[in-house]
């Protein structure tokens, strides 16, 4: 009898351990998703202007799923210790619902990451940066967001355009229709700035003399944080779900063995 009791206790211990890990991962997922939603790099307006901000939706879902996982793991531990069939059934059903939501979040984040290409941001930059004649309030809001974000990007990361300053020469843009080519071959934010925020040598910048303008593109500064966000949400969520799968299977098996 004691040997059988021992194996039952071991199984209970395993389930409790599984639930503890789920709880901790849930808190970690919530913290990670709150970090992403807070947009530390200020790139959200770029996604908002593409009218597809799925990786942010996935992060929002992640916040609530993480909290739910934590709460349900506490419920699960209680249910296993008390061997209460009702508690465990509630736990299993709610966990499956949470599982479905987390699955949606992971798949959304992974799918949206494939959508973020250099040409997407290039086209958006050419169409919206410094766009003066906007059609409606929504257009105005998005264009202002894109303009502000690009100005910050170029100044803080010392970069210019998506691939380089040649983007402004190679393609027609909203910027070009407001700012003539002779005075602004590329935006003045591409110039090397002094401590007060004005170009060190404006003529050198307009000529394109190395050292007076930023010649590298900003795509790395955009795609780096976005890819990290997409991967963080999608694959961490995937890992949690793989672990949760085994804990749920074990719990279902345990539930089927409980006798009233």
């Amino acid at each position: 009898m004691s040997k059988d009791d021992n194996s039952v206790h071991i199984f209970q211990g395993l389930l409790i351990l599984g639930n503890v890990v789920i709880g901790m991962c849930g808190i970690a997922l919530t913290a990670e998703c709150i970090f992403f939603v807070s947009d530390p790099h200020g790139l959200y307006p770029l996604l908002e202007a593409t009218e597809n901000d799925d990786i942010y939706a996935a992060a929002w879902i992640g916040i609530f799923v993480g909290f739910a996982l934590f709460s349900l793991s506490v419920l699960g531990i209680t249910g296993v210790i008390k061997s209460n069939k009702t508690l465990l059934l509630v736990y299993i059903i709610l966990m499956l619902i949470t599982y479905a939501f987390e699955m949606a979040s992971c798949i959304t984040a992974a799918t949206h990451q494939d959508f973020l290409t250099p040409n997407l941001f290039l086209k958006q930059m050419l169409e919206r940066y410094q766009k003066m004649e906007t059609d409606n309030n929504n257009d105005k809001w998005m264009s202002e967001g894109v303009t502000k974000t690009w100005n910050n990007l170029m100044l803080q990361n010392h970069c210019c355009g998506v691939h380089g300053p040649s983007d402004w020469q190679k393609y027609a843009s909203a910027f070009r229709s407001s700012y003539n080519d002779a005075d602004y071959p590329w935006p003045h934010q591409c110039c090397v700035m002094d401590a007060r925020g004005s170009p060190v040598n404006l003529d050198g910048c307009k000529l394109g003399v190395p050292g007076y303008y930023n010649s590298n593109g900003c795509y790395d500064a955009i795609s780096g944080p976005m890819n990290r966000q997409a991967w963080g949400v999608a694959w961490f969520g995937f890992a949690i779900l793989c672990w949760t799968f085994w804990v749920l299977l074990g719990t279902m098996f345990y539930w089927s063995r409980i006798e009233y």
Binding site: S83, C106, P165
Partner: protein, 246 residues
């Protein structure tokens, strides 16, 4: 024959202008703004007009490639025939007139020895500034040459440059925005998660089905009572203690 040819090369031409054997060139390739959609950058004519007197003015003449041959170098700059404001209908204009003293030979170290053609935007419609260095109105092609003037007559001219064609901006509408397809990672993730979820749902359904059929007394999947079952955990084992303990 050869001395005669040499004499012809340096002798004044038919209109009294000395022909200088220099072809104006675009600036060094490291400049990003060497050619834009309305400007281009030339090398300054340093050490070119070696025989010029102090006080000579060097003018840059920009002409449409097709009309370059018809240009008369004796035309006075800053007159309506060579005004920037009516270019390209007058097929050529003169600009960037400056004293030869601004092109010292040899160049001082640290000098920018380039000329940006098209940098002045303020005067492009101002008829009082016919020598405005305004932005070029189209992609060209253009040819340029330098002409040296004293106060009244043209003294010397260089050769025409090679045709210079400016950049043309493409429309951004045709940029292909969509990625090639779905990445491998996303497909694997979706497939594995879907399978796991399906397995869980199947187990849940089987569990509930067996529980329902069990509770209604009919034959169930787990017909043989298992050797190990889980008891409700009771904190007090008092009721389980054998009576002999007393």
């Amino acid at each position: 024959m050869l001395p005669l040819l040499l004499l012809l090369a340096t002798a004044p031409g038919a209109d009294g202008l000395t022909s200088i054997d220099y072809v104006p060139t675009l600036a060094n390739e490291t400049l990003e703004g060497r050619i834009t959609t309305s400007t281009f950058v030339l090398e300054q004519p340093r050490c070119v007009f070696t025989d010029a007197q102090p006080g000579t003015h060097i003018w840059l003449v920009v002409a449409l490639d097709a009309a370059a041959e018809r240009f008369d170098a004796g035309t006075m700059p800053e007159t309506p025939r060579l005004a920037f404001q009516t270019f390209p209908s007058n097929t050529a204009y003169a600009t960037l007139g400056t004293s030869i003293a601004n092109y010292p030979c040899p160049p001082r170290p640290g000098d920018f020895t380039v000329l940006r053609v098209g940098s002045e935007t303020a005067c492009r419609s101002d008829p009082n500034r016919p020598s405005c260095n305004g932005p070029l109105p189209g992609p060209g092609p253009y040819r340029v040459k330098f002409v040296a003037w004293d106060n009244v007559t043209a003294q010397a001219q260089t050769h025409w440059s090679e045709p210079i064609t400016l950049k043309t901006a493409l429309q951004a509408d045709n940029l292909p925005v969509t990625a090639g397809g779905h990445s491998t990672g996303m497909i694997i993730l979706t497939a594995i998660l879907s399978i796991l979820f399906a397995v869980l749902l199947a187990c849940l359904v089987a569990l509930l089905a067996s529980w329902c059929s069990n509770s209604y007394g009919s034959s169930s999947i787990f017909s043989k009572p298992d050797a190990v079952t889980v008891r409700r955990y009771n904190t007090h084992h008092v009721y389980d203690q054998p009576a002999a303990r007393l």
